[in-house]
């Protein structure tokens, strides 16, 4: 048995001294390692096409038919299709980021994550990147099928800004997922209830199926806390320019808000994780699988 050749230490104390470069490399590798099962899952379990694309598409179609029946302007069909695509990311954040630590604890993975040398934020980042890749496939499929079936046309005049809006939506969205994941460390079975609680209200408050302005005064509060709502509003403005898609705020302002949210949620997740790890170690919540 030759062993792992990377370590030339002669005792455990030497082996425990890592350079900053090695620490960074370890964390980058951990991100790739944790993203791997999610990405490879796309090819291993083709049933996701049915559950992740066709079923959610039924909900999108329902709203399309409602708008058609009401003879609403065609832009609204585009709003719904785009909303349906972005919703996939929210569902991914709620079920495969926020609640994930609960399932990981149940499987026994959480203990192994904590006893490994990487930072837990790297595991969350791996989950986020893997989830983002996985969900992008669903989102692209929803947009593609929706556009063909319902004849949605897009008028994208500033593609780079649209890409920036998408990226700046995803960072705070998954940052929020990381923050929730930290909080979920403290919950047991209630985690799934909390995830359900997060799902439907956000559909409503996020303006997934209607323009955010329709919410009126509430929308100001929503903008302050929901990256999904702000990002979707910005992307709609950039995709369907016109009087009907006039946003709640100018695109530039919304991108600034998203940038601020990115910092707040990522830094918040980092500190929440450290605090809640300590709390969980104190109360034995990392190890008691029946909790």
């Amino acid at each position: 048995m030759t062993g792992y050749r990377g370590s030339h230490a002669t005792n455990a104390q030497e082996a425990a001294e890592w350079s900053n470069r090695r620490i960074i490399a370890n964390n980058l590798r951990a991100i790739v390692g944790r993203a791997y099962p999610r990405i490879i899952g796309l090819t291993r379990e083709p049933s996701w096409v049915f559950f992740e694309i066709l079923l959610p598409f039924l909900a999108v179609s329902a709203f399309v038919f409602v708008y058609r029946a009401l003879e609403a302007p065609e832009e609204y069909i585009g709003f719904v299709v785009l909303g349906g695509a972005v919703t996939s990311f929210w569902l991914n954040v709620v079920w495969m980021m926020a609640a994930q630590f609960y399932w990981e604890k149940d499987q026994g993975n959480l203990e192994l994550y904590f006893t490994a040398p990487m930072h837990l934020m790297s595991i969350l980042a791996g989950m986020a990147i893997g989830g983002l890749v996985m969900t992008s496939s669903r989102a692209i499929a929803v947009i593609g099928i929706g556009s063909i079936l319902f004849g949605v046309t897009y008028d994208i005049r500033e593609p780079l800004l649209l890409v920036a809006a998408f990226v700046l939506t995803m960072i705070p969205l998954y940052g929020l997922g990381m923050l929730f994941a930290s909080l979920f460390l403290m919950w047991g079975r209630e985690a799934s209830h909390l995830a359900e609680l997060l799902q439907e209200p956000i559909y409503f408050l996020g303006g997934v199926n209607f323009p955010l302005r329709a919410l009126g005064a509430v929308s100001g509060v929503v903008v302050a806390i929901l990256p999904l709502a702000v990002g979707l509003d910005a992307m709609r403005q950039l995709t369907f320019p016109g009087p009907l898609s006039q946003g709640l705020l100018p695109v530039g302002t919304e991108l600034l808000i998203l940038g601020a949210m990115s910092i707040v949620f990522l830094v918040g997740a980092r500190f929440a994780l450290a605090y809640l790890e300590h709390l969980a170690r104190r109360e034995g919540r990392l190890t008691l699988r029946w909790q």
Binding site: Y4, W18, A30, V32, F114, P117
Partner: protein, 339 residues
């Protein structure tokens, strides 16, 4: 840099919040394990073995006391500890079922920062060592219990830890699989100096076969500590007999037997609490103050209607040590827990 103790614990306690009363899982443990040692924590379920491992692997904070792994404090130096340890638990279902054996091990190698190519080399090496070549491209969810545990062992060795924690690692495995894993562990430990293993088990044979030193643990305390030989010597002064009867006497049973003059203890003969003698007879392990007390036992049994069908003098085992220290066998403890 001089090598520190692999494990050092002083006055470690752990109290869990519970209703109606808090539960003391560890009641002040002192322990020193040298680098390179194969050390066993032997005790029944609920003895506190796993709690101690959770503290040493940085998953749980001690309520009081200090504990160090490789010289690093489990409360304040967790990052350094996590670079030099790994852990394997019995019945572990870790990882992701959709990955293949090879992919699963590679994923874990990334958590320990192995460079990609080195990671795959190490994965293939461990697959060969643990005999999982035929399952290398099989999805993890299709592996049998024994294969799964071999995979867990390979995962635990992926980073060549300096201190490997094994928590009931052969729990639920058949005899062959358990033997294979014990052999892998011994070979791994012997392959390089300084590799330390802390094993928790309630299998006496496993502890005797693997461990350089053993601590007998019960109800959160270490009751005795030494090499298997040293521990057995503690009860060498006694005479231990395996007695087979056609049935237990209806009046008094085991307790009545243990109360006879000259009898120090009387328990069912096998580790699992069964007597191991089949349906038509019962086998007991009886510790006597000296051989002369045997006559008293045989006579008393006959008077109570039980007939002797087998008799053999036993060498003391670790269970005898446990019985002497605690006054009951492992099986009795399990029975108490089940009731």
């Amino acid at each position: 840099m001089p090598a520190e103790l692999a494990i050092h614990a002083r006055g470690v306690t752990r109290v869990y919040k519970a209703k109606p009363d808090p539960v003391t899982a560890l009641g002040g443990v002192d322990l020193d394990v040298e680098p390179g040692e194969f050390f066993g924590l032997l005790g029944p379920n609920g003895a506190g073995k796993t709690t101690l491992i959770k503290i040493l692997t940085t998953l749980l904070l001690p309520t009081s006391g200090t504990a160090k792994v490789a010289g690093f404090d489990v409360v304040t130096e967790t990052a350094k500890i996590r670079r030099v340890i790994n852990m394997v638990s019995g019945g572990e279902q870790s990882g992701y079922g959709l990955l293949t054996t090879r992919e699963q091990l590679w994923m874990f190698s990334q958590f320990y920062g192995l460079p990609t190519r080195e990671g795959w080399r190490r994965v293939d090496e461990l697959i060969e060592i643990t005999g999982l070549q035929e399952q290398r491209d099989q999805k993890v969810r299709t592996l049998s219990t024994g294969q799964r545990q071999k995979l867990n062992f390979a995962r635990g060795m992926i980073n060549d830890p300096w201190v490997l924690f094994l928590d009931e690692p052969t729990l639920g495995l058949d005899v062959g699989a358990a033997r294979d894993l014990r052999e892998h562990t011994l070979a791994w430990r012997a392959a390089a100096p300084g590799r330390t293993v802390l094993l928790t088990t309630h299998y006496m044979v496993e502890a005797e076969q693997l461990c350089d030193r053993i601590a007998i643990v019960d109800r959160g305390k270490i009751l005795a500590l030494g090499t298997p030989e040293e521990l057995r010597r503690r009860v060498q002064a006694e005479s231990i007999f395996r007695i087979e009867l056609d049935h237990l006497p209806e009046s008094g049973g085991l307790a009545g037997l243990a109360a006879l003059p000259g009898v120090l203890s009387a328990v069912a003969a096998d580790e699992d609490g069964s007597d191991g003698a089949g349906a038509d007879r019962v086998a007991l392990k009886v510790a006597l103050a000296d051989d002369s007390a045997l006559t008293t036992v045989v006579t008393a049994m006959a008077e109570r209607g039980s007939h002797l069908v087998g008799l053999a003098k036993s060498e003391p085992s670790l269970e005898d040590v446990f019985v002497e220290l605690v006054g009951r066998g492992f099986g009795d403890q399990n029975d108490e827990q089940r009731s």
